[in-house]
């Protein structure tokens, strides 16, 4: 999630489509966006309502390069889109780079064709009678047929093309731009698609009415390849076959290019007229990119799990489904679709079982694991120490461990620092040096870490020592130096400049870890030798000092362990 877990404070989220791409029929764009929202409404209580005017939570638009915010796009490929986390104004909005070639991801087969009288592609924006158009228009036509211009200035070259409004008619139009209508009859034979019958140039054609003869109207139906909205430097559509270095091509090719891009020639022979165009490859799936961007618009940051939708890099997948990482993230913010919200993070209520409880009937202690009790030197003064092996909270009280002894800062009437006590008298199985410890209050268990081993105490019975690799920590970890309970049975384990998230119930490290401590907990030393949670704050200790961080992950205090935590004078 974004900083501060930004999210919408209502479940009925609204959206509005402000502009379209010329790459796809508007009905397809509408559908792609609706399906992208459904990805998230399927797993949360959120609903998405489309507005056609006014201000919606999520305003969607297409733009190129500088498109009105401080984050310009970069032409074809590279950046595809971006979106802002929930909030007012531009927050929550999603922008798509229209220098990309937007499709359903399967490539051009379902491209809507815009064509002018000689098959050139439509170009936007174009001006007509002083007005600029970014999509087809029926202005200036009595028959209301949508048309476009092949160049920026309609007037000058008098070239214009008809823009079939329905996606299904992905075929070109006839000389006066009618859509092909099927079936039609030619020489007493019925056709339900374009044909090359009766033509010697191999072009495919269709008739605009069921009877070709009577109105002698017909149109060219570009083949699939020509339908690839390629475009040479002057926007002509690709024509096939074309010849390149003596070889004939009937579809786009990457021959002769070092970057593998697909291209086509606009005439039969590439060489003589030097016209060529790029044939867009599969294009980018508007649905997939929109589903990702709407994840941001709902409050999700990037994932580092390749298979997750919120992974920053684009890759086309046929049968898409959300990864558990995406679902966990969105449900953390908005809860599940049905049933109660996931249990909110439990407050760290101190349990009463952290100490071995004599009448506990748990599994017996493993006799091989006890160690001889460390003799306690009652004069050992905690205030004379510069550094502790570990500090942690047990039963709501701070505990300071060092070399076989521990002290505890008890609250209440007779508060103040108590100890030293012998570690091995209280927890016989433990070694003298404890690197870190945490209390799992829900399960009433105490975890102790020393080197690459760990012990779990439940009352007086203990499990361990076991290797920390059993939890999924890599064998490169020499010791666990800190632990932060994060609610919902998760605990962050710190070692060196990294941290991992442990699912305590599963006894397993979650995927997507380790992460750098300073990337998430900015402002604290990334080599803290101790990390613990206390009174709603996170403490990072190095030498005699601690850095205290609040729940918004801001360092709000730096001080001496001795004076502030041990309250030495």
């Amino acid at each position: 999630t974004f900083e501060g877990d930004l999210k919408w404070d209502h479940q009925e989220v609204t959206y509005r489509i402000l502009s379209y791409t010329p790459d796809m029929a508007t009905s397809l764009v509408d559908d792609a966006f609706a399906r992208a929202f459904k990805v998230w409404s399927d797993v949360t209580p959120l609903t998405f309502n489309r507005l056609f005017d006014g201000t919606a939570d999520i305003m969607i638009s297409f733009g190129k390069i500088d498109h009105g915010d401080p984050y310009p796009f970069d032409g074809k490929d590279g950046l595809l889109a971006h979106a802002y986390p929930p909030g007012e104004g531009v927050q929550g909005d999603a922008h798509f780079d229209d220098d990309e070639y937007w499709t359903l991801g399967e490539g051009p087969a379902v491209k809507t064709l815009y064509g002018n009288a000689d098959g050139a592609m439509c170009h936007f924006p174009f001006t007509f009678e002083g007005k600029s158009y970014t999509t087809c228009t029926s202005d200036g036509r009595s028959d209301d047929l949508p048309w476009c211009s092949t160049t920026a200035d309609y007037g000058r070259d008098n070239k214009f093309g008809f823009c079939p409004s329905e996606l299904l008619y992905t075929f070109g139009g006839n000389a006066d731009g009618e859509k092909c209508v099927f079936p039609f009859v030619f020489l007493d034979k019925e056709y339900d698609s374009c044909t090359t019958e009766g033509r010697d140039d191999g072009y495919r054609w269709c008739a605009t009415t069921s009877n070709f003869d009577t109105d002698v109207k017909y149109g060219f139906c570009p083949s699939r390849e020509t339908a690839v909205i390629g475009g040479n430097s002057e926007g002509e559509s690709c024509h096939f076959p074309f010849v390149f270095l003596g070889k004939e091509y009937d579809s786009c090719t990457s021959e002769g290019r070092g970057d593998g891009k697909l291209w086509c020639g606009t005439t039969d022979s590439y060489d003589d007229d030097k016209k060529w165009g790029f044939c867009p490859d599969q294009g980018y799936s508007l649905f997939l990119v929109a589903a990702h961007e709407f994840g941001h618009a709902l409050g999700l940051e990037h994932s580092n799990i390749r298979e997750a939708l919120m992974y920053p890099m684009y890759s086309f997948v046929e049968d898409f489904s959300l990864h558990e990482d995406d679902i966990e993230g969105i449900q953390y913010l908005y809860g599940r679709k049905d049933g109660p919200d996931p249990t909110p993070p439990q407050p760290n209520t101190p349990s009463t079982t952290a100490y071995p409880d004599p009448d506990d009937t748990d599994k017996p202690t493993d006799p091989t694991t006890t160690t001889t009790a460390t003799p306690v030197d009652p004069t050992k003064d905690a205030c004379k120490m510069n550094k502790f092996d570990t500090i942690t909270v047990i039963n709501g009280e701070l505990h300071f461990f060092n070399d076989g002894l521990y002290w505890r800062m008890s609250s209440g009437r007779d508060g103040g620092l108590k100890g030293p006590f012998s570690i091995s008298e209280t927890w016989p199985a433990l070694p003298a040096v404890i690197d870190s410890a945490f209390e799992n209050t829900l399960a009433r268990k105490l975890y102790f870490f020393s080197g690459t081993r760990f012990w779990v105490y439940t009352g007086k019975s203990v499990l361990g020592p076991r290797s920390i690799e059993k939890l999924g920590l890599p064998n490169t970890v020499q010791k666990v130096e800190g632990a932060l309970q994060r609610g919902k049975g998760k605990v962050l384990l710190f070692s060196g400049e990294n941290y991992w998230r442990l699912d305590v119930k599963a006894q397993k490290i979650d995927k997507g870890y380790p992460r750098y401590t300073d990337a998430v907990f900015g402002g604290v030393p990334n080599d803290a030798h101790d990390v613990f949670q206390y009174n709603g704050h996170m403490y990072f200790c190095r030498d005699r000092f601690y850095w205290r961080m609040n729940s918004r992950r801001q360092v709000d205090r730096v001080g001496y362990v001795k004076y502030d935590l041990l309250q030495c004078t």
Partner: protein
């Protein structure tokens, strides 16, 4: 053959721009601390985010990853 006008940006310029654009270089921490990160450290972070081997080097696979189409939202939470 008329190729793309491949911007004659060097690989390290491309990498530098990428690491900056997606928040790996200068991290503005929540506590307001501004810390510049070395390129090698920033590369390691980016390699980790992309699930790659964390070499801290601008190797071929890292460079290719930087050229792949992606979302414009930074990977490190500096995005306001």
């Amino acid at each position: 053959f008329p190729g793309d006008i491949i911007k004659n940006m060097t690989d390290s310029e491309l990498a530098e721009g990428y690491l900056k654009k997606f928040g790996y270089m200068d991290t503005l921490t929540r506590s307001g601390f501004q810390s510049m990160v070395s390129t090698s450290k920033a590369l390691k972070r980016m390699q980790r985010q992309m699930g790659m081997e964390e070499t801290g080097e601008l190797d071929k696979s890292t460079l290719e990853a930087m050229k792949r189409p992606r979302c414009g939202v930074p990977d490190v939470a500096n995005y306001r």
